[in-house]
């Protein structure tokens, strides 16, 4: 018995079923058997391996693995978890409680985050730019500053520089804003640097 066999049996036992096997109603078992026989014959003819296919059919779409060992069927669950990790690693030190740099501390409070606007920078319509616009990363101030290598900002030479998100991380943030923030209600336009819902405008 080799390790592969052991692993397979364990998977059977642990899952109370054979996770490799999914014959269900999908495969005509007789046809499958015939094919295996044919396969063995053709492989033999070709001088290939004498044993038949060693995999059993599996046509189940696998769930998405999460870093904590659990799984999900929703890609946005995974993406949001990963975005939260990135924001925690690179941004939360200054923009999550107790940090209030730039006038906001809601980097991990997504329903609030999407209501915030910059108090210093306006967008192409003359409105104060929103930090995050669900579905529109290229109009999201937070995303643009990360993409343009502007955040975290350069610190005085006497202080250690803070690491900036990698391109890979920025790529993930883009997908998160583009596809996964739509579940929150977008705020109405708000003039003059104030943000709806009473949230504090940010100087980001």
């Amino acid at each position: 018995m080799n390790a592969r066999s052991i692993a397979f049996l364990l998977s059977c036992a642990a899952s109370a079923g054979c996770y490799l096997t999914l014959d269900k109603n999908e495969l005509d078992s007789k046809a499958a058997g015939d094919r295996r026989a044919d396969a063995g014959a053709s492989q033999g003819d070709a001088g290939g391996p004498s044993e038949g296919p060693r995999f059993t059919t599996s046509l189940d779409t696998p769930a998405i693995e999460l870093a904590d060992g659990t799984t999900t069927r929703d890609p946005c669950v995974a993406t949001t978890e990963q975005a939260r990790d990135i924001l925690t690693a690179y941004c939360a030190g200054c923009h999550a409680p107790p940090g209030t740099a730039g006038g906001f501390s809601s980097i991990l409070d997504f329903p609030t985050l999407i209501t915030l606007r910059s108090s210093t920078v306006k967008d192409s319509t003359g409105e104060f730019a929103r930090l995050v616009i669900p579905g529109q990363p290229d109009k999201s101030r937070l995303y643009l500053r990360a993409r343009n290598d502007e955040m975290p900002p350069v610190r005085p030479p006497t202080e250690p520089q803070l690491p900036r998100p990698t391109i890979s991380s920025v790529s993930l943030l883009r997908t998160w804003i583009q596809r996964c923030l739509g579940n929150y209600d977008a705020p109405a336009a708000s003039p003059g640097g104030t943000s709806p819902g009473g949230a504090t405008p940010s100087s980001l």
């Binding site: 599996s58 990963q82 997908t175």
Partner: protein
Amino acid sequence: MKTISTPTPFLPFLGLFGVAAALGCSDPFQFDSAPHGAALTSPDGTPVVAEEEEICPASEEWLPTTPPLELFQPLPHPAGECPFYRGAWQNFLIATQPDAEGRPAFQFYPSIDSMFTSTKPKAPPGQRAWLGDIKQAGGRQIVIDQNGHTLYYGIHVNQAYADFIKDNGLTTLEAVKGADPRLFFPAGVVEFKSAWQDITDEPAEKYDTFIQTDGLVPRLSKGPQGEIVEDRNAPIQRHMALLALHVVYTYPGHPEFIWGSFEHSQGAPDTSAKDKKRDVAPTFELQNPTDDDPDNVRITEAVSANDFVLYKGGTPANKANAAIVEANLNLDAATQSFPGQQTSIYRMFPASKSNTVDADDAISSLNFNVGQLFVSKGGVLSKNDKRGYYRQIGAVWMDKPDFFTLQSPLQNDDTSPLVSQGGDAAKRAAALADIVANGSDSASSILAGEDRLSSTAMESFTQGPGAFPNCFTCHNTQAVTTRGIPSNKDMVSPVLLEAKLLNVSHILSQFVLEETQ
């Protein structure tokens, strides 16, 4: 990859074997006492790590009409590699979805001609060749099949790629050259490079399992220096068979692209090159190239006794994978062929991996499951649907995409921070040794998947470890030259594009080349 686990957790479950049997499990693996499998303990009683296979499923919903790929970032090692191979397969199935005439969808996708604004005189669509570029990237060699024809290549992208180009205003030469070096490809873009064989004069039944189409190819002629010249504005219609397809796509967090490659097979139960179902080119099965003979020049035995599309049976390994000097190619202009000439190509790395000749279980099992999916769905598939006769050779991507940076070769060598180790010689040696032993499964590897992945139809002559043995040796974020390769590999040719993150795709540099040559 193999997922590694210690034997300890197994032990409490050993008693469950009977339970497993009672539940009706059938062990798909033959019991085997051969030493290649890991045991629970070594002869001296020392616990030994066990390697578990990664079984990668197909998805029922992929057929008959393949849905779009869900976008998420799969976990890096030690998590399994299945999502990356599945993404390549799903994008392949989408792109090769047949129309009523059996033509693949990607044939009608955006191309360089349709995405960019050219200043060169170009015949309108329908009167201009959409296949061509017969000189391969890297060495610009030309492969000649067993019928004396060159192969023709096509480049297409999905709509998301075209939208990205348009949205960022990258449609002109100046805009491309001036693109922000930090701009990267977002998740969801896909590009395709296809390799086609001219089968106009071949018996139809011989190609019954191939995706086929009528393609406009450039008219070939000889230039003053004996070079082969392509005229895309004077195309010829030929009947073509799809030999191979690169499927190159992005996931969130993977702007370096996942580089998948497919080639034709005679069909299930093909799970690896060793099954002898893949008929584009044979595989030298015995070993990977060695350090003292990296190009197999001392191997005088034939790779195969049989003919393949790109290999003449009986050709010794050291006579194969060699291009004919361009000036010595004898073009017959009337037939657009090279009568009596052919190149013989074989796969140098049997499993497309640097450290083993055994195919990765994740990809083998996925290929098997896709084959079974086609069998199970046979009743609802069009008779023109030939997608089941292709197999994924492998894929390569960055296991640690945080190292995807500007001016990076993206290789497991001294340019990798995981190898250079800040100049610490001992750590560097240890990292390199671990990469040699474990390939892309090494903790010191920035890459994952098949780190010796080449298409025999597209990178026929550059498979050797000293050339361009994986996709990233050509496709990285350094400056690109007129040979379509990074400037650090080509000190002679002019630079087409300065270093950019976007250089990882050569569509932009190809457009620049066409505009400036």
